[in-house]
C-alpha cells in the first residue's frame, strides 16, 4: 500500500481543470421575450385605488376572502369584506398605497402619495422557473405566462426564495398546501378574454396588451406634459376603448423594461418605483448567473465523471488489502488489531 499519488493527481488535475474552465466559459445567454408575449401595463397615475381589480381577481380565480389583516385582528372584527394587508396565499393581486410626508397630492414624490398594484411580474427570465426542481413552474413558450402545476410541485418553496419580488405564496395553514400566484388569468385568456384585473379596472390603470405594444404605449405616456389632457386606452390596448384624463406627470422610467432581464408586467408612476416598494434590480436575472455557475462547474456532467474515474481508481489502489479475504476477520471474531502505522 505505497503512496502513488502521481497517477491520481493527474486525473484530479484534469478534472479540476475542466471544472475551472467552466468558470470562464460563456455565460448562458439571456432569455428573449416570447413571440406572443402578453402582459399588463400598470399606470399608478391613473389608479384611483378602488380595488375593483382585486375583487375581479378573486372572482375570476375562485379565491376566498381574507381576514388576516392587522386591523381586523386588532379589533377582533371579521365580516363580509375582504381586507388582506398584502399579497398572501388567498390574494394574488393587491393594490397598496404609499404616502410620504403630509401626503397631500397624488403622484408627487414629496408630501405626496401613490398607489401600487402588486402581482406576479411574469419575468422574461424568471428565477422561479429556474429554481423549481420539478418544473412545476413553467413559462409558456408563446404567451410567456408563468404558470404553476400543483401536480408536479413538491412544496419545497425554493421558488419563494428565488423570486426577487416575493411573489409566490404558500398555504402554510393547510395540511395539503399549494403555491399561489397570479397566472395572468390564463384560463380566461384561453377563451379569448383578458385578465380579470384589466377587465375590472374602470380607469385604464391596468391595461392588457402585447408586451412590445405596451412598452410603446408606456413610452408615449412618458412624453406627455403634466397638466395636459390625453387619451388613454382602457381594459385592452387593442380593444379600441379610450378615455380622456389629465396627465399627472411621470417619473421617467418603465419598471420592468430591463429589471431582472425584463418583465411582462410593466409599471409606471409619478414617483420612483423604489419608493413604492419595488426592489432596485439589475438588468440580468439571478437565474442566468446561477445557471452559468452551476453548469460551468458541471460541464454537462463531464467534470464529475472524470473526477469519479480518478476517485474510484485512487480508492481501488488504496484498498488492495481490504479486498483480500482475511482468514479469520470474515468470521467477525475479535482479533488483535494491527499496529497503527505511520506512512
Amino acid at each position: 500500500m505505497k503512496i502513488d499519488r502521481r497517477d491520481f493527481c493527474k486525473v484530479v488535475v484534469a478534472g479540476a481543470a475542466t471544472a475551472l474552465s467552466g468558470g470562464v466559459a460563456e455565460a448562458r445567454p439571456p432569455k428573449e421575450l416570447p413571440p406572443g408575449a402578453v402582459g399588463i401595463l400598470y399606470d399608478a397615475t391613473l389608479c384611483i385605488g378602488c380595488k375593483a381589480c382585486e375583487v375581479g381577481c378573486k372572482e375570476a380565480n375562485d379565491m376566498p376572502m381574507d381576514h388576516t389583516s392587522c386591523a381586523e385582528q386588532a379589533y377582533g372584527v371579521s365580516a363580509v369584506w375582504d381586507a388582506p394587508d398584502d399579497l398572501n396565499s388567498r390574494t394574488m393581486n393587491k393594490v397598496k398605497a404609499y404616502a410620504q410626508g403630509t401626503a397631500e397630492v397624488k403622484d408627487r414624490p414629496h408630501d405626496g402619495y401613490s398607489f401600487i398594484k402588486r402581482s406576479c411580474m411574469h419575468c422574461v427570465d424568471p428565477d422561479c422557473v429556474s429554481a423549481c426542481p420539478v418544473s412545476a413552474l413553467t413559462k409558456d413558450p408563446v404567451t410567456g405566462i408563468v404558470q404553476y402545476d400543483p401536480d408536479a410541485c413538491i412544496g419545497c418553496r425554493y421558488c419563494q426564495l428565488a423570486c426577487p419580488f416575493n411573489i409566490p405564496k404558500f398555504e402554510f395553514d393547510k395540511p395539503f398546501p399549494k403555491i399561489v400566484k397570479c397566472q395572468m388569468c390564463a384560463h380566461i385568456q384561453a377563451e379569448g378574454g383578458i385578465p380579470a384585473c384589466c377587465d375590472a379596472c374602470p380607469t385604464g390603470a391596468s391595461l392588457f396588451g402585447r408586451v412590445p405594444d405596451l412598452l410603446q404605449e408606456a413610452h408615449r405616456r412618458l412624453a406627455f406634459k403634466p397638466g395636459e389632457r390625453q387619451s388613454y386606452p382602457i381594459h385592452n390596448l387593442d380593444g379600441g376603448e379610450t378615455r380622456m384624463a389629465e396627465v399627472h406627470g411621470y417619473h421617467p422610467k418603465v419598471y420592468g423594461e430591463t429589471e431582472t432581464g425584463g418583465t411582462q408586467y410593466l409599471m409606471m408612476a409619478g414617483v420612483p418605483l423604489e419608493n413604492l416598494g419595488m426592489p432596485a434590480l439589475g438588468s440580468e436575472s439571478r437565474a442566468r448567473l446561477s445557471e452559468t455557475i452551476q453548469h460551468g462547474l458541471y460541464q454537462g456532467m463531464m467534470a464529475p465523471t472524470l473526477l469519479l474515474g480518478g476517485l474510484v481508481y485512487a480508492v481501488y489502489r488504496n484498498t488492495a488489502e481490504d479486498r483480500e479475504d482475511p482468514p479469520e476477520a470474515a468470521a467477525g471474531k475479535a482479533q488483535k488489531a494491527e499496529e497503527v502505522r505511520d506512512e
Binding site: 500500500m1 499519488r5 398572501n88 428565477d127 422557473v129 429556474s130 429554481a131 423549481c132 426542481p133 420539478v134 418544473s135 408536479a152 413538491i154 412544496g155 419545497c156 418553496r157 425554493y158 419563494q160 426564495l161 428565488a162 426577487p164 416575493n166 404558500f170 402554510f172 395553514d173 395540511p175 395539503f176 398546501p177 416598494g277 426592489p279 434590480l281 439571478r286 437565474a287 448567473l289 446561477s290 455557475i293 452551476q294 453548469h295 462547474l297 464529475p304 473526477l307 469519479l308 476517485l311 485512487a314 480508492v315 481501488y316 488504496n318 484498498t319 481490504d322 479486498r323 476477520a329 470474515a330 467477525g332 482479533q335 488483535k336 488489531a337 494491527e338 497503527v340 502505522r341 506512512e343
Partner: protein
C-alpha cells in the same frame, strides 16, 4: 489496514437515553400536528422566510456536520493516510444518521411530501435547478453511506458471504461516496445564488459553492475529533490524541484557504464596503471571524493540538464557525424585505431537537451493539 472493530457493549437504556426518548416523543407530538394541521401550525415559517430552522439546521448544517465520513474518506483513500483507517467506521456512522435524518427532515419541511417522488421522474426534472441537484445527490449519497456502513451491520449479523462479496465492490461505492458530497455540499451554497439581494452582500458570493465545500470538510474533521473525544470520555475508550492531533492538523490550512478566498472575494467585488456600516450582519461577520480565527490559531500549533482540552474546544469552534456561517447566510443575514421577521417557533425547535435526539440514540445503539469502533488501541 485490517483492523478489527468491536461493539463497545454496556447498558443502552441509561438515564440520558430515557431523556432522549422523551425529547423524541415531544417531537413526535409536534410532527403529528404538522401533518394534520399544516406547517404553519407548528412553525413560524412565512412567505418572507420560506426556509427556517429545518432547512438551515437539519439539512444545510446537519449534513455538513455529517461530513466526517466524507472528510475521513478523502484523507484515507485519496491522500492515502492509512493510519486514519481505524477512525473511518465511526465517522461513517455519524454520517449515515446525519444524512438519513436530513432526508427525513425534508419530508417534514416540504409542503407536498406525497409528491416528493417527482424529483426522481425524468419528465419533471429541471436540470437548471440547483435544488434538483441537491435533492438527487443527497438521496443517492444516503444510499451509498448505508452501503459503505453495511459491513458493520453484516459483521454484527455474521453474514459472511455477503461481507465477502461486498469487500470486492466496496471501493466503487467509496469513490462515489467521495464524489457526491463534493457535489452537493458545494451546491448547498449555490442554492443561495439565485436569491440575489435577499442574501446580505457579506455572504452572497459567486464563489459560495467553494466556500461551502471547504467549510463542510473542516466541519467533518472537526466532528470526527469532537466525537472521538466524546467517546473516550463517555464510553471509556482510550484516547488517541496523537491520531486526533494529526486529523486536526489539516483543519487550519483548510480554514486559511477559506478565509483568503472569502475575504479576497469580498475585496474584489467591493462588497467588503458593507463592513463599514454598523449593524447586526457586521457583528455576526465579526463573530464568525473570531471563531474561525480561534480555531486556526489553536490548531496550528502542535503542542496545543495534542492537548485534549484545547483539541476539544478548537474542534467545537470549527463546527460552530461553519454552522454560524450557514445560519447567517441562510437565515440571520437573509432579508426578504421590510415587514418580515423570523424566529423559530417552539414546535419547530422541538422537532429539530427530536431529530438530534434520534441521531444520538442511533449513534449510541450502533456503537454499543455493532462493531463500529476499532478494537484495542
Amino acid at each position: 489496514m485490517s483492523e478489527v472493530y468491536r461493539p463497545v457493549g454496556g447498558k443502552l437504556l441509561t438515564r440520558q437515553f430515557y431523556f432522549l426518548i422523551v425529547l423524541s416523543l415531544i417531537a413526535a407530538y409536534f410532527l403529528g400536528r404538522r401533518f394534520i394541521f399544516g406547517i404553519g401550525d407548528v412553525s413560524n415559517l412565512s412567505d418572507g422566510y420560506p426556509w427556517g430552522l429545518w432547512i438551515t439546521y437539519d439539512v444545510v448544517t446537519g449534513t455538513a456536520i455529517a461530513c466526517g465520513g466524507y472528510a475521513m474518506a478523502v484523507a484515507v483513500y485519496v491522500f492515502n493516510k492509512g493510519q486514519f483507517h481505524p477512525m473511518v467506521r465511526a465517522a461513517l456512522l455519524t454520517s449515515v444518521f446525519g444524512y438519513t435524518l436530513a432526508g427525513a427532515s425534508i419530508i417534514v419541511d416540504v409542503g407536498r411530501y406525497w409528491q416528493l417522488y417527482n424529483v426522481f421522474l425524468p419528465q419533471h426534472a429541471n436540470l437548471n435547478s440547483v435544488m434538483l441537484e441537491v435533492a438527487l445527490c443527497v438521496t443517492l449519497y444516503t444510499l451509498v453511506l448505508w452501503i459503505e456502513f453495511s459491513p458493520a451491520i453484516l459483521e454484527a449479523m455474521k453474514a459472511n458471504r455477503a461481507l465477502r462479496m461486498l469487500r470486492h465492490i466496496l471501493f466503487f461505492f467509496i469513490g462515489v461516496g467521495i464524489l457526491l458530497p463534493t457535489m452537493h455540499q458545494s451546491s448547498l451554497g449555490s442554492l443561495l445564488i439565485i436569491a440575489g439581494h435577499k442574501v446580505h452582500p457579506l455572504w452572497q458570493s459567486d464563489i459560495i459553492p467553494l466556500l461551502f465545500l471547504i467549510t463542510a470538510i473542516t466541519m467533518g474533521y472537526g466532528m470526527v475529533v469532537f466525537e472521538s473525544l466524546y467517546a473516550s470520555v463517555n464510553l471509556g475508550r482510550k484516547l488517541e490524541t496523537d491520531l486526533l492531533a494529526k486529523v486536526a492538523g489539516v483543519i487550519p490550512w483548510l480554514l486559511i484557504t477559506y478565509l483568503v478566498l472569502r475575504i479576497g472575494d469580498l475585496v474584489v467585488t467591493g462588497d467588503i464596503a458593507a463592513l463599514a456600516e454598523p449593524g447586526r450582519p457586521q457583528v455576526l461577520f465579526a463573530l464568525e471571524m473570531l471563531l474561525f480565527g480561534y480555531a486556526i490559531l489553536s490548531l496550528l500549533s502542535r503542542e496545543r493540538r495534542i492537548h485534549p482540552t484545547h483539541l476539544f474546544w478548537s474542534a467545537l469552534a470549527v463546527v460552530l464557525a461553519g454552522a454560524l456561517y450557514r445560519f447567517d447566510a441562510f437565515l440571520i443575514a437573509y432579508n426578504p424585505g421590510p415587514g418580515w421577521h423570523y424566529f423559530p417557533a417552539v414546535g419547530e425547535m422541538m422537532i429539530t431537537l427530536g431529530v438530534i435526539s434520534v441521531e444520538i440514540m442511533a449513534y449510541l445503539f450502533f456503537v454499543k451493539k455493532t462493531p463500529v469502533l476499532a478494537a484495542g488501541h
